[in-house]
């Protein structure tokens, strides 16, 4: 393979990395990428054909034009630095591939790829980025080594042919080994270097997820469409295994129904500040709490979630708000992912001293046609029962067993969706069930309300967390039971709660990687560093304990400690010595000009070798060869005189070396 093809291969590998890094930037559209990739591919064909592609001056003019485009893109079109810079870099890269002449041009390509990776790093949280970065590290080391060899070859008398070893497998393996070492070092630095609590460049995601059901007014039938959307809303990590009871993540509580939509009227928002123990206390509760670690995607609502009923919350918020119903919200919708911890009392009723009028408001029943029918139905179901709780349970049971769960309920002849559901189609989804139960309870003068939120999604056992998606959106009922508080009832049949499709193990595993990446790389913090240090300390202590017990060593602790310290010192000293030796050998080698090494090799093949005590001049005189004499003089100049040989001198050395090779 010729040297130039080798360089082109490396360069296009890097360019491909740059393009794939840019593809991670969300604002960059697919057609743009396709155009740029095909432009790059076309340039490859031309480059292999060795044609003059773009003249230097033309390239400069084009680059200036692209720069102007970039400025206007930034100021007027996309108004986003990352998007416009990504476009700018990509166009520049594609163009530069048409102007590969000098070494400098190749280096510019690598630089552009580096900036593309930077742009991609600023805008993506995808773990694929890590793969691209690793390949980039390997590629850049590879390219730099090749370029160094090329430069050395051009400077020395060898001509520009690449030595054969560069194409061998050992060469690749050593490059990968070097890259691996540097990656490991980077990783170590990443985890060890102390970091700030807040990044310098807080990432702002423009595309927050749209969720429905958490505003002050919710139309009946809004949850249905999202039940097929598998976009992930949040991940909830638990300590240990999944609990046996289904977890409900409360969002908003709705109190007033007008026949078509639910409204929220209760709004006693209370500001909750961080307590002395550093967490936000929402309510008082004695008993077991479930600890959750929640990673919430950016949503377009300020409501945030925790398993019902949250008692403590801890996160990077300055303050949180809660309303009279026990739902939580932030001062403003978060524009980036937020991570927080919550401790919840699962299944505990939500305490409330006063029941607001709206919760028992049966005005809808009186004013509508079906009001009477509903009251009749409710009293039919609860005939003979005395307590509110018994009545609620029986309605829940009735709805669960007599109605069919479907996401596409048939249109009945009823005047409202609720009438359709209860008396005609008798099919619907969670919203219908929950609305029906709430209204029926109100018909019986039992205060009740509709709650929207999420149920637990699929359990990822690889990372011990729930994946909660749009399709896990749910609504249920809370009824006020005297002496207890607000108790949760869920009239939806279990088939409506279970996830629609079971994900494959691979999907779960990949999601786990994504979760860990986010947890340990994107959100890696100083606290985590302290935790890591503590874990390492604990683990090492454990290992020492185990070693001690397995060898049954009962020596005094001091000696043991001294021994281990000694071992560490010896290990460090050995490593340093090896490195020193390697570095020492390298620097010595580098001093001798390659043409002299070559000469010595040629002479050795002819049976004449230099004794170590012999000076080069003595050796040259011993060979009695005028060519050797000439080469030795040039060698003296370069090696001891620190003189860079002139071109004619180098040519002279080259011819002398050729002559030397020729003779016998």
């Amino acid at each position: 393979m010729k040297f130039s093809y080798y360089i082109i291969a490396v360069t296009y590998f890097m360019a491909a990395l740059g393009l794939s890094a840019i593809s991670l930037v969300e604002e960059i559209s697919a057609p743009f990428l396709i155009v740029m990739s095909s432009a790059a591919t076309f340039s490859l064909i031309l480059n292999l054909g060795k044609k003059e592609l773009i003249r230097g001056a033309a390239w400069n003019v084009l680059a200036a034009a692209i720069f102007i485009f970039f400025i206007s893109d930034y100021l007027f079109i996309s108004e986003s630095l990352i998007a416009s810079a990504s476009r700018f870099l990509t166009i520049l890269l594609a163009l530069k591939l048409y102007d590969l002449k000098k070494n400098r041009d190749y280096l510019i390509v690598f630089l552009l790829v580096f900036f593309q990776i930077l742009a991609s790093a600023a805008s993506t949280v995808s773990p694929v980025f890590f793969l691209i970065l690793s390949l980039f590290v390997i590629g850049i080391i590879w390219a730099m080594i090749i370029f160094n060899i090329k430069k050395d070859l051009q400077d020395s008398a060898h001509g520009s042919e690449l030595p054969k070893m560069v194409f061998g497998l050992p060469f690749f393996f050593s490059i990968i080994a070097i890259s691996a070492v540097s990656l490991v070092m980077t990783f170590m630095l990443f985890f060890i270097l102390p970091r700030m609590g807040i990044g310098f460049f807080e990432r702002k995601t423009a595309n927050t997820l749209k969720v429905s059901g958490f505003s002050d007014r919710v139309d009946l039938g809004t949850i249905g469409p999202v039940k097929q959307d598998s976009t992930i809303i949040m991940r909830v990590e638990l300590k240990g295994k999944a609990p046996t009871d289904i977890l409900y993540f409360r969002g908003t509580v709705l109190d007033t129904y007008d026949g078509f939509s639910w409204n929220k009227k209760v709004k006693d928002n209370t500001l909750i500040r961080r307590g002395y123990d550093g967490v936000f206390r929402l309510t008082k509760h004695n008993g077991r709490l479930l600890e959750q670690n929640i990673l919430l995607e950016p949503l377009d609502t300020e409501v945030f979630f925790a398993a019902s009923m949250p008692v403590f919350v801890d996160g990077m918020f300055s303050s949180i708000w809660t309303d009279g119903t026990g739902s939580m919200h932030l001062p403003s919708p978060p524009y980036s992912r937020i991570e927080y911890k919550a401790w919840s009392a699962v299944n505990a009723p939500i305490p409330d001293k006063f029941v607001k009028a709206q919760y028992a408001d049966a005005s809808y029943l009186n004013s509508s046609k079906e009001g009477k029918k509903i009251i009749e139905l409710a009293s039919d179901i609860t005939k003979g029962l005395s307590t509110d709780e018994e009545k609620a349970v029986s309605i829940e049971k009735y709805l669960r067993s007599n109605y069919k769960y479907t996401l596409n309920p048939a249109q009945g002849k009823g005047e409202s969706p609720l009438e359709d559901f209860l008396f005609y189609s008798k099919e619907g989804y969670c919203e219908h069930y929950a609305t029906a139960m709430t209204i029926m309870l109100r018909a019986l003068n039992i205060p009740s309300r509709l709650v929207t939120g999420f149920v637990q999604g699929e359990w990822n056992s690889y990372g011990n967390y729930f994946i909660i998606r749009q399709q896990d959106a749910h609504s249920w009922v809370e009824a006020y039971i005297d002496g207890k508080g607000w108790v949760r009832f869920d009239p939806t049949p279990p088939s409506g709660i279970a996830s629609l499709n079971k994900p494959m193990a691979v999907t779960l595993y990949l999601d786990m990687l994504r979760w860990k990446w986010n947890r340990y790389v994107i959100h890696y913090s100083f606290t985590d560093q302290q935790k890591l240090a503590k874990t390492v300390e604990g683990r090492s202590k454990n290992i020492f304990e185990k070693l001690r017990s397995s060898f049954n060593i009962q020596k005094p602790k001091g000696a043991q400690y001294l021994l281990s310290v000694l071992a560490v010192i010896i290990a460090i000293a050995l490593t340093t010595a090896v490195f020193w030796k390697l570095i020492g050998l390298k620097s010595k080698k580098a001093k001798t000009p390659p043409f002299y090494i070559e000469t010595l090799k040629v002479l050795k093949r002819k049976g004449i070798s230099r004794a170590p005590q012999e000076t080069p001049l003595e050796f040259a005189l011993r060979t009695g060869n005028s060519n050797v004499r000439l080469i030795t003089e040039a060698f003296h100049k370069e090696r001891y005189g620190d003189v860079e040989l002139a071109h004619e001198e180098l040519e002279g050395v080259k011819t002398a070396l050729k002559e030397l090779k020729k003779r016998k």
């Binding site: 002299y596 005590q613 000076t615 003595e618 001891y640 620190d642 003189v643």
Partner: protein, 312 residues
């Protein structure tokens, strides 16, 4: 003056000297090297091989003052460095410079003088000044001392102490000329030759060349080479006393001068290898008695040099 110019001057100088000292180009080269390294020369040989001629010839070639001091056992320090006498007319003490006040001084048969007189040369050689009665007098520049001694005749001599030997840059031997050259010497009229010797280098030029020599590049590895040789003399089994740091410094400076003499502005290993014997041999003390002579120490140095790896 650059090194190319000085190479021409030195070639002229060597050529000129070659007219009076026939068949000894290496000796001439070493003498010139010692001159450029601001050194002094100890010539150890039997009488009549041209030691004096070398000193005289060198002085004539660079057009400078030349004094010859014949060392005998009754020579006093004041006979060498000068004396302070009372001037009746001016009613003051006046210093009368001795024969040491010259650019080139030949101390003939230096080992015949008493140690007291020998040591009078110490300050002159190392500091290029003499102190008489609390006053210090600078010697002319450049200053070079050539001393001779007879290696065979030891009766009534005072062998030079180590401290004195250490101050001589090199110790060389003239050796007999080969037959052809000796024939030439016999047939020529040496006095006339010496008389006809014309100066080719000025004193200023010598000083410039000395300054140039100090700027010669010595690669780091070559310094290591010097140190390796010095260390080997210190650790050699057959050597009781190795060379001093003054000796290694001298080797460094002299190698620089030899590079100039060879027309280079940088040292090569050969400069060091070639000079290490003349510079180090007379400074080491062998373990065994009896090989303290020139050949014995030379052989030891050869042994040392041939054990050191040359940096390539």
């Amino acid at each position: 003056m650059d090194y190319k110019n000085s190479y021409l001057k030195i070639a002229l100088l060597k050529d000129n000297l070659g007219r009076v000292i026939k068949g000894k180009p290496e000796i001439i080269e070493l003498a010139v090297t010692a001159l450029l390294a601001r050194g002094h020369l100890l010539i150890e040989d039997v009488p009549g091989v041209g030691k004096t001629t070398l000193a005289h010839g060198l002085a004539k070639c660079i057009n400078c003052t030349f004094h010859r001091i014949q060392f005998t056992s009754d020579l006093l320090p004041s006979d060498v460095i000068g004396v302070t006498i009372f001037n009746q007319a001016a009613r003051t003490f006046e210093f009368r410079p001795g024969p040491i006040f010259a650019n080139v001084v030949l101390a003939d048969e230096i080992n015949r003088a008493t140690p007291k007189t020998q040591s009078a040369l110490l300050e002159a050689m190392s500091d290029r000044q003499v102190s008489v009665d609390k006053s210090t007098y600078k010697l002319p520049r450049p200053f070079m001392l050539l001393a001779t001694q007879n290696p065979l005749e030891y009766s009534g001599t005072f062998p030079l102490p180590e401290s004195q030997l250490d101050r001589f840059t090199m110790c060389i031997r003239m050796g007999y000329p080969d037959e052809a050259h000796e024939r030439e010497i016999i047939q020529s009229t040496s006095e006339l030759l010496m008389h006809n010797l014309t100066p080719v280098v000025s004193l200023e030029e010598v000083e410039e060349m000395q300054e140039l020599a100090e700027k010669v590049v010595v690669e780091e590895d070559l310094v290591s080479y010097i140190l390796a040789i010095a260390n080997a003399t210190r650790n050699h089994k057959g050597i009781k006393l190795g060379v001093s740091p003054r000796a290694t410094t001298t080797l460094y400076r002299t190698a620089q001068a030899l590079a100039i003499v060879s027309g280079r502005h940088y040292c090569i290993p050969d400069d060091i290898k070639r000079l290490s014997s003349p510079i180090f041999a007379h400074r080491i003390i062998p373990m065994e008695h009896g090989i303290e002579d020139f050949e014995g120490t030379q052989a030891l140095m050869e042994d040392v040099i041939n054990s050191i790896t040359v940096p390539v």
